[in-house]
């Protein structure tokens, strides 16, 4: 269980984390989402005591990180897969961590096996691809068999097989009753990985909720085509539905597709098309964070940069 209360971090004039409060519960995978530079990594560093907060607190199982007696046994973290000495072998990176927390060396071989790096354990970590480094980082997070796990952008650089493995693996960790916090700037990825979402932008909380909560916050629409334009418009007016006209179709917002179909049938209006357009989690995410994007790219015009 991770509890963050009124956490604030200021770097000079820049408020990197602004009065953030949330709880990460055990037993589910929590997705920590936000555009680049929104403060996800800073928040994780604050939780681990690597940065000191300007104000507010962060605790793990009710204790500040600095108070933990054997931190790796309580919380495992992957912050930056490339943040390791390139000259040391993968195995020795893990042995160094294991020694510091008095974790048995047989556990090192165990976690290497879990992440599939046994065959390359004695190679220099500097020669690893980003995907292999992510696996090594996941292995170091697992080393102490902790009840709380944090992963900062763990999916970057993984191949499709690796992404699927990581997804299933996080789910499995949560099913074992662990607290799992996974950050990403890609909603499309998180939609498949997490059960609960914390979305931040410019260091502030934007929204928090389950997949269903988020899907509801963006409404779907129903597309209708019919030869009887006047009659259909009359029906829409009677029912007080929100409607706009597109080239050859009517688009109704916020009404279940069954309702539109049933009412049209009851009114005797033949429909040539009746389709529901669902809003994806990604669309909701884009809509929610639209005002909080730190760096916006320009759309390229043809032939011009």
């Amino acid at each position: 269980m991770i509890e963050v209360q009124s956490l604030t971090k200021r770097f000079g004039d820049n408020l990197a984390v602004d009065d953030l409060s949330f709880t990460v519960k055990p037993g589910i995978v929590t997705g920590f989402l936000g555009p680049n530079g929104s403060g996800k990594s800073t928040t994780m560093r604050l939780i681990l005591g690597l940065n000191s907060p300007t104000s507010g607190t962060a605790t793990i199982n009710g204790q500040r990180f600095a108070e933990l007696k054997a931190p790796l046994r309580e919380v495992g973290a992957l912050l930056d897969a490339k943040a390791l000495h390139p000259g040391r072998s993968a195995r020795n990176q893990l042995v160094a961590l294991a020694l510091s927390n008095q974790i048995s060396l047989s556990r090192v071989d165990e976690v290497l096996d879990i992440v599939g790096l046994t065959d390359v354990a004695n190679r220099r970590a500097g020669d690893f691809s980003l995907g292999m480094s992510q696996r090594l980082g996941i292995a170091s997070a697992l080393l102490g068999d902790p009840g709380t796990l944090m992963f900062d952008e763990p999916i970057n650089g993984l191949d499709p097989e690796g992404i699927r493995w990581v997804r299933d693996f996080f789910q499995q960790l949560a099913d074992e009753g662990r607290t799992v916090l996974v950050s990403s700037h890609l909603m499309s990825e998180m939609a498949l990985t997490a059960d609960h979402f914390i979305i931040i932008g410019r260091g502030r909380m934007i929204t928090e909720g389950s997949k269903e909560d988020l899907a509801k916050s963006g409404t779907g629409s129903v597309h209708v085509r019919t030869p009887l334009h006047q009659e259909f418009k009359q029906l829409v007016a009677d029912k007080q539905w929100q409607m706009r006209e597109e080239a050859d179709a009517f688009v109704i917002e916020g009404v279940p597709v069954a309702e539109v179909g049933d009412q049209s049938f009851a009114a005797g209006i033949p429909l040539h098309e009746l389709s529901a357009r669902e809003v994806s989690l990604e669309d909701s995410f884009m809509a929610l964070t639209a005002g909080a994007v730190e760096y916006t790219g320009r759309r390229m015009r043809k032939g011009k940069l």
Partner: protein, 264 residues
Amino acid sequence: MPRVSIISVVRSEFLKLRTLRSTWLSFAITAALTIGFGALISYVTKMQFPKMSFVEKATFDPIAISLVGTLFAQFAVGVIGALMITSEFVSGSIRTTLAAVPSRMRVLVAKAAVLKFSVLIVGLICTFAAFLLGQVIMSGPGIPTATLANANTLRAVLLAGLYLMLLSLLGFGLGLIIRQTAGTISVFVSILLVLPLITFLLPSAWRDAIAKFLPSSLGRSMMSAPGAITETPLFGPWAATGILVGYVVLLIGIGAYLFERRDV
């Protein structure tokens, strides 16, 4: 439940030091410079001895000559000390280290202890080897040589090893403050090479007052025969050791203060 202790962190840091190629390379360079240069200069001096003036013969210091390699090896041990901490900041692995051991002072003490122990052992092996080899090379008719049976000689050889250890800690302290490998090594080299050059541009009264405080001058005091005649006045060996220890304590103290407070 097993927990983090200073011993477990020392074991971790010792593994980290010995599993890097740069450590072994730097120690090999330390040995090559201390022993190799000592032997070379001893040989050249022996060849020159018959042609030396009366004054040169009177101030002939076989101890300092055989240990002259430490003045080159000091750069190699400084690099070991600097890398011990800067490599963690440069690669970002300091976050992994502190996410496993939240007490920064514990990490600092463990790193300094591992560094001290390793460089002292290697340093003493090198200085004793350099001294003994140098005396064997220089021995010949009419040339004075030194023996470890003499307390002052033993002191000089032991302090030469200690000097290397203190210089590695100086590099460590600078690295803790500067946090960058290139910057740390530049400052380290400047202190040892550029500051002495600057003192030579000063009026001689100032130079005599200042030069003896330079780490390189303190090193000469530590590993010379007592009363050796030098171009500027020097402290006695024990006073010099005390001053150098003071520098190390001050630098690491500032570094520790900053390490405890700064974000990583």
